[in-house]
Subunit: 148 residues, 4 copies
């Protein structure tokens, strides 16, 4: 399969989040501390969608594979508010031997609100030792890889 057919097969995964009153601070926008949590929820939902319903919870407890974070960076471009759903576009941008990098772009009403980069390590839940991802996870990630 060549690159163009791969790209053609890919449809962006978008996780929609209802931003509410309780997410907002006195500046009447979503509190900065909520935005990384929104992006993390979107990555969790990305796994859930691509692993047949299994997100981080089932990956850790049922599949014995954790993915703790070693890095995150976010650029905040425009405020997030309850006036529109927050559409989080998620895709993996790099797969290493025991690590994975995700990009998460948050958009509201077609405006880019934040761009984030997140790096996780595959580990055994007992002891946090790094390991290679299981084959099915590797295949899912490889099928969705796109440049950052």
């Amino acid at each position: 399969m060549n690159v163009s057919s791969l790209n053609a097969a890919q449809v962006d995964f978008v996780h929609s989040i209802r931003v509410g009153w309780g997410d907002c601070d006195p500046a009447q926008i979503a509190y900065t501390g909520r935005l990384p949590a929104f992006a993390l929820e979107a990555i969790d939902a990305w796994w859930e969608h691509h692993l047949g319903g299994d997100g981080w919870f089932q990956m850790e407890l049922d599949r014995k594979t954790g993915t703790p974070f070693v890095h995150m960076s976010l650029d905040f471009r425009s405020p997030v508010t309850p006036r529109h759903r927050l559409k989080c576009h998620v895709w993996p941008t790099r797969l290493g031997n025991s690590s994975i990098e995700f990009r998460v772009d948050g958009r509201q009403n077609d405006v880019l609100c934040f761009e984030g980069r997140f790096v996780c390590v595959f580990v055994n839940p007992d002891g946090f030792q790094p390991k290679e991802p299981p084959d099915d996870m590797r295949r899912v990630v490889e099928s969705q890889l796109k440049p950052a």
Copy 2:
């Protein structure tokens, strides 16, 4: 319109929440501190659904009507986990001159997880003075009233 036709016209409002890894504590269930927040989000979503897209944020900023809480009580019946969506059934059970009471039942996979009772007061955002609800809000609530 008599009571039975009213009831016939009513369809339960159900707000679905994705419970994730980040909502759970080391006991591998949703943290107790998250459950009232889930119920509040469901009430916010109830207003949004019945006011044409306006939840607490727009009620306060655009419609100049706040609804701060004066009471909440919850009974926790069964643990909430990420294995199913949390279906929050919301309905108003009482409308006073300047107050409103909501019932929120949280269910997963047809199992009752919690039952909650919440009392709010209608206020002016400037100064928190109690007031009567605006007519359109009153009509919406009256059309959805059901016993607790």
Copy 3:
């Protein structure tokens, strides 16, 4: 030891919480969904103080005793803001065979902000079976019991 000497020996446990910008909503007060979480943190801190540094985390993982909640109710008396520390007064009001009830009063600048009642069950972490509290926990609770 008679009741009056018991009371004389008791000093209210007060857990102080820094309320910040991130706890507040667009009404410029702490979001209602944060208040139960503040009260829970205060109960966790109550255990930590009385069990020589062991809060819920160590109780569950090291002492094999969980205390999940079966009920909470709160009355909100006055808004909580970042202008003062939130002083949470915590005490146990009832000890059953396998249950415990706590009272938590939140005060700022000598004003009562909320009163809460919380009921927990002692359980084995594996399987959530109710059990009697360990002797040292029972003794700690009995020494601090006061009417609601």
Copy 4:
């Protein structure tokens, strides 16, 4: 005043956070989504300490100066748990015309848990227009500047 005397005069600001059960996820460590929020709380507390008790809440409402975030990046070095207080070392590393950069290092039991870099912009609360910081804020920041 030369650099060495400046450095001698400076004492690191350290904000202590009680990490509890409710901050932890099923991996029995503080949830990744909580860590940026801890760092933000520490920056809020840094302002509060250096502005005579005024944190972000009072800066926005009383002093009419907001400081929304345009960037954050964090490296996670070691898990955060409830077994020790989280000591957040905070200092400003750069002051621009209308921007400020903070470093936040989180340590537990003398182990570095995370390092974070945060960039904020000084704005008018009405309209989010960038502006120069007020003189007293500028003086406080300049007196505490240290390399990253």
